[in-house]
């Protein structure tokens, strides 16, 4: 379990990093926390020619409030996300999700940009961001572009990020009043990637009618996905026990989990259903409805 040989560079500034990324004559990979990339390299499932270590880019590690939400830098560690009061208050879903990511050793290194770019369908934070309607900012030497999280994930471990682009920032809209969210997952051991899970964001009007619903599913297919059929059942209604069960069922039938040694697809679908149901109950309650 030793990686193949590679060249290592550690740029001091973002422009320097972007320059290196723009060089398409070498097969380069960005190294952030290394918690996904290094294991892949050790198993020789990845063998980049050059690693561009972005750990010196400290200006990419921040959590900044804005009236509409939060800006979080790509190099922000999961630990700092978890500890942030702003995150807990303004985007409680992300706080809850970060608590499910691995163990503290991994959270101390792993980064927001890394988990997004890695795009594991069983990873918590991408699903939480999908439910939160986040916006990702990517930069290259050609400039900057905003990518809605909706358009970001593209099948197994792939995204619409270009090879010369660096994720620099993620924007999460703040939870509106009468909004509630919940993150639920089940894994056989605490801290493992989930067998199934769901991130739920619900917004209600003054009457307690659901105005908008975002239900995103964990480990439900090749990439983080929403469950529109489930969301459609909820919007325009008051959420009672029966509707919640129906919406959970709809979410589960839209899910495409794969059979693995941790559980059959059928079992995983049942887990997703249960997690959606729990999430909808909790989010409703948290919204104060």
């Amino acid at each position: 379990m030793k990686p193949a040989s590679f060249e290592y560079v550690a740029p001091a500034t973002v422009p320097e990093a972007l320059h290196l990324l723009a060089d398409d004559t070498v097969d380069s990979k960005v190294l952030a926390g290394g918690q996904s990339l290094i294991p892949l390299m050790n198993l020789r499932l990845a063998a980049p020619e050059r690693l561009i270590d972005i750990n010196n880019l400290r200006d990419l590690a921040y959590i900044r409030d804005d009236i509409n939400g939060l800006h979080i830098g790509a190099m922000t560690r999961h630990t700092d996300v978890l500890a942030s009061t702003s995150v807990r208050q303004m985007t409680p879903l992300l706080h809850e999700a970060a608590g499910f990511v691995a163990h503290s050793q991994v959270r101390n290194r792993g980064t927001l940009g890394g988990t997004l770019a890695h795009a594991d369908a069983a990873a918590e934070i991408p699903v939480a961001l999908l439910a939160s309607n986040a916006v990702i900012t990517a930069r290259s030497i050609e400039g900057e572009r905003q990518i809605s999280v909706e358009d970001f994930f593209q099948g197994y471990f792939s995204t619409t990020l270009r090879a010369d682009e660096l994720i620099v920032d993620v924007f999460l809209p703040a939870m509106p009043p009468h909004g509630g969210s919940a993150f639920n997952e089940f894994s056989r051991r605490r801290g493992d990637y989930a067998i199934g899970g769901a991130a739920v964001v619900l917004v209600f009007d003054d009457q307690g009618i659901c105005e908008s619903a975002r239900v995103a599913l964990l480990a439900a297919g090749p990439q983080p996905v929403r469950a529109p059929a489930s969301e459609g059942l909820l919007v325009g209604h008051r959420l009672d026990g029966e509707l919640i069960l129906a919406a959970a069922k709809a979410a589960a039938s839209s899910a495409n989990p794969v059979t693995s040694i941790h559980g059959s697809a059928e079992y995983r679908r049942a887990v997703i259903e249960e997690m959606v149901a729990r999430g909808l109950r909790e989010a409703t309650q948290r919204a104060g409805v």
Partner: protein, 789 residues
């Protein structure tokens, strides 16, 4: 640091909860494991491993690898002279097969080594692995035990039906008649999944040929220093003296290192061929998929009971999936023999017959794993008790009570031919049942939140251990384990060095052995250093496994200490001009009874070394002694209870609370005993709810990392309360019984019992481990008994 007692009273060190002397270095990271041993010039080994489960090797081309800068050599079986290791039993029911050090002609499991690469770094060695090419013609692999009947190609030509061991050690002509006339016959099949012991430190070694000493020095992480020496010497055609095995700290063994692996032999061979030092450290993928596994077993049993729930007889057909090879030295007979011999546990079974087989498969070879077959047989016996109790409408504790061997039955001889010395089987059961009541578990079952179901399990069992030569001789291995020889030497400062052929893999022997010796010499344990794990330093011994070290090694140390005490008293008597019989050793002094005259033991030591001319009466110089022990073997016993909860939404199982009653005779150090119990239970919980070395139907390992091989973490552990009973065993001077395996033995049975209690409203039983959430889901989906009636 141990504080010395200040009063004049003699301190009993045995029984004290001394902090383990080893802990400081382990916790501070200053222990030294095999891969920590520095060597400026060592080359690095890595293995080319078969990606195919079963096939014939057509060719291996190592030439491209040799062109990579930094690659020193790539050796195949022919380069090692087709060296092999053969672990066998000298009995008709056993088919002898050899394990080539590097695959020769055939590959028999994914991960089997085809070649060893030696390079200047492990990185380059792994580059070289990718450059070696080979052609292998594939056969259909034998993965499950029943595959052997379907596939025409046997794994070993010597055993066309795949059965390497077929034991019919226990027969009873009247058993069928007894079962036919029994009130109830419980007829069930129990299964257990394949496991890997997963010690934190994998295997590893560093081998160097030393011309000066005409000796191969092999530093290796093992439980069996002397058996590793013998195996390497045999495989490489060397005299025993030409191999020195050194074992530094070992980061967990659990039986997984009570074996000699082919990798260690290959590294030793490479060091000898190249005349250059070579080292190898197993990575986790190799450890999980290419080393040793165990526990994949199936039991088809029929047990007869009277109307009152009393066992009338038991018939068992036991099959163990022993993998591709018979491991050296304990052989693929290990699991089948243990299962058949010790099946009956703490119960009186009037009639018993069993057939016990070891079946080859295209998986890594099986070897000992903490508890060897006892976790399974206890799971089966306790499962039978629960099912009979259910069928007969008898309370689960009561049915066990009716069948348990009682105080008045000892010495008890059962149909398995074993004589049981006194234990506290019924007492443990009663205490455990009382503790369950006292802890309010029944109430807690009622209080489960909506959507959650709880159940209580109980398991009463024994743990046979410390097998000496008399018992091991019955197995008919070419090497019969059992005895130990300890040496003691006091130096000129009064410190004592103890050597033993046992070899701690983290069990705290440096602490507990010292406690035993301290009591006999009247000095503090921190004056006693245990040296172990060096075949040039200690007498030949049998290493550490099966709860033997403190009993046999410690028993030998007790004899040696008693003899050294005699020497100290004699020297003191001469120096104080009194009779040796009047001298006692207390608190670091030799004291004359009644008079108060005394001399410090340090002073005695100094005199013996530096001023021996004063001691004219002595026949021998210095302060040295030895002792040996070879008990036949004994049973400790225990009773476990568990409270579990099922989340009906996710089908997750959580063990909420756990109770242990443990009787291991005299307790030398309660901290060590409780630590062993807790660690064992953690592994037992792993075996029951999390871990499985799964394989695809084409023999590919599916659990190659800790993301897929789920070892429980602290978060999965319940609180555990431990109660002790002490029924001493006097096969050695210490009254100690072995106890290292009890936790692993009890946990699967008790958790399964608790799950079946939680699911009692369903008309179905769990009869296998590991139990996955998907299994629970299947049972919960069944109609309840009320719904179906």
């Amino acid at each position: 640091m141990v504080t010395l007692p200040t009063s004049g009273e003699s301190q009993q060190w045995v029984g004290q909860p001394l902090q383990r002397r080893e802990d400081a270095r382990f916790l501070r990271g200053t222990g030294r494991y095999t891969d920590d041993v520095p060597h400026a010039f060592a080359l690095h080994a890595a293995f080319v491993r078969s990606p195919i489960a079963f096939g014939v090797i057509r060719s291996i081309d190592v030439r491209p690898a040799l062109e990579i800068p930094g690659v020193i050599a790539v050796l195949t079986s022919a380069d090692l002279g087709h060296a092999t290791l053969t672990g066998f039993l000298d009995r008709d029911e056993f088919i002898k097969t050899a394990m080539p050090i590097l695959a020769n002609e055939r590959v028999r499991f994914v991960g089997e080594p085809l070649a060893i690469v030696i390079a200047t770094s492990r990185y380059i060695a792994e580059d070289a692995i990718e450059a070696v090419s080979y052609e292998i013609d594939e056969f259909d692999p034998i993965v499950a035990m029943d595959d052997a009947q379907r596939t025409p190609q046997p794994i070993h030509d010597e055993a066309p039906d795949g059965v390497l061991v077929d034991l019919r050690m226990f027969n009873d002509d009247e058993l069928e008649e007894v079962l036919a006339t029994s009130h109830v016959v419980v007829d069930e099949t129990f299964r257990s999944g394949r496991l890997q012991a997963a010690p934190m430190e994998g295997r590893g070694c560093l081998a160097e040929w030393i011309d000066r000493d005409d000796q191969l020095v092999v530093t290796v992480s093992t439980q069996l220093p002397h058996q590793v020496r013998t195996g390497i010497a045999q495989a490489l055609g060397l005299a025993e003296r030409q191999v020195r095995v050194i074992v530094p700290d070992v980061g967990g063994g659990f039986g997984f290192k009570a074996v000699l692996g082919r990798e260690e032999v290959a590294v030793a061979a490479a060091a000898r061929i190249l005349r250059r030092p070579v080292r190898w450290a197993e990575d986790r993928l190799e450890s999980l998929t290419a080393s040793f596994q165990g526990r994949e077993q199936e039991y088809t049993v029929r047990a007869g009971f009277t109307e009152d729930g009393v066992l009338t007889g038991l018939a068992a057909d036991i099959r163990c999936n022993i993998g591709a090879y018979s491991a050296f030295p304990f052989t693929c007979g290990l699991e089948p023999i243990m299962a058949a011999t010790e099946f009956l546990g703490v119960y009186k079974v009037p009639r018993y017959a069993s057939r016990s087989r070891g079946i080859a498969s295209n998986k890594p070879p099986s070897n000992a794993y903490r508890g060897v077959s006892r976790p399974q047989i206890v799971m089966v016996m306790e499962g039978l008790m629960d099912r009979a109790a259910d069928r007969l409408g008898i309370d689960r504790v009561e049915i066990r009570r009716r069948n348990t061997i009682r105080a008045e039955d000892f010495p008890y001889s059962g149909p398995n031919g074993i004589t049981y010395e006194p234990g506290s089987y019924l007492e443990a059961l009663e205490l455990c049942a009382a503790q369950v009541e006292a802890a309010g578990w029944r109430q807690r079952c009622e209080e489960a939140a909506p959507g959650f179901i709880r159940g209580i399990g109980i398991a009463n069992f024994s743990e046979r251990n410390a097998y000496g030569t008399a018992t091991m001789g019955l197995r008919r291995m070419p090497m019969t384990p059992g005895f130990e020889v300890a040496h003691l030497a006091m130096d000129a400062s009064g410190d004592v060095t103890l050597t033993s052929g046992t070899c701690s893999a983290g069990q705290g022997h440096e602490t507990t052995f010292a406690q035993i010796v301290a009591d006999r010499l009247g000095i503090a344990p921190d004056r006693i250093q245990l040296r172990q794990g060096d075949t040039d330093l200690t007498s030949f011994g049998w290493g550490t496994f099966a709860g033997r070290s403190l009993v046999i090694g410690g028993g030998a140390a007790a004899v040696a200490a008693r003899r050294l005490a005699v020497q100290l008293r004699e020297v003191a008597a001469q120096l104080l001009s009194v009779d040796a019989d009047d001298v006692e050793l207390v608190n670091g002094h030799a004291r004359v009874r009644g008079t108060g005259a005394s001399i410090s033991i340090d002073e005695i030591a100094k005199t013996v070394h530096f001023r021996s001319h004063l001691l004219t009466d002595r026949e021998e110089y210095l302060l040295e002694s030895h002792g040996s022990a070879d008990p036949s073997g004994m049973f400790s016993n225990g009773c476990h209870a568990a409270l579990v909860e099922i989340d009906a939404g996710t089908c997750a199982v959580q063990v909420l609370d756990y109770l242990v009653v443990e009787d291991c005779g005299v307790i030398v150090n309660p901290l060590v005993v409780d630590g062993q119990v807790r660690g064992g239970i953690a592994q037992g919980i792993g075996a029951t709810l999390y871990e499985e070395a799964s394989y695809s139907p084409d023999g590919q390992p599916l659990a190659g990392s800790f993301m897929s091989y789920l070892v429980p973490t602290a978060a999965e552990m319940p609180p555990i309360s431990i109660h002790h009973l002490e029924t001493p065993c006097y096969q050695t001077e210490t009254g100690v019984k072995g106890m290292g395996e009890a936790g692993t033995i009890g946990a699967p049975a008790v958790i399964l019992s608790a799950l079946n209690d939680a699911l009692r409203s369903r008309d179905a039983w769990l009869e296998h481990v590991p139990v996955t959430p998907a299994d629970i889901q299947r049972l919960l989906a069944l109609p309840t008994k009320m719904e179906s009636s």
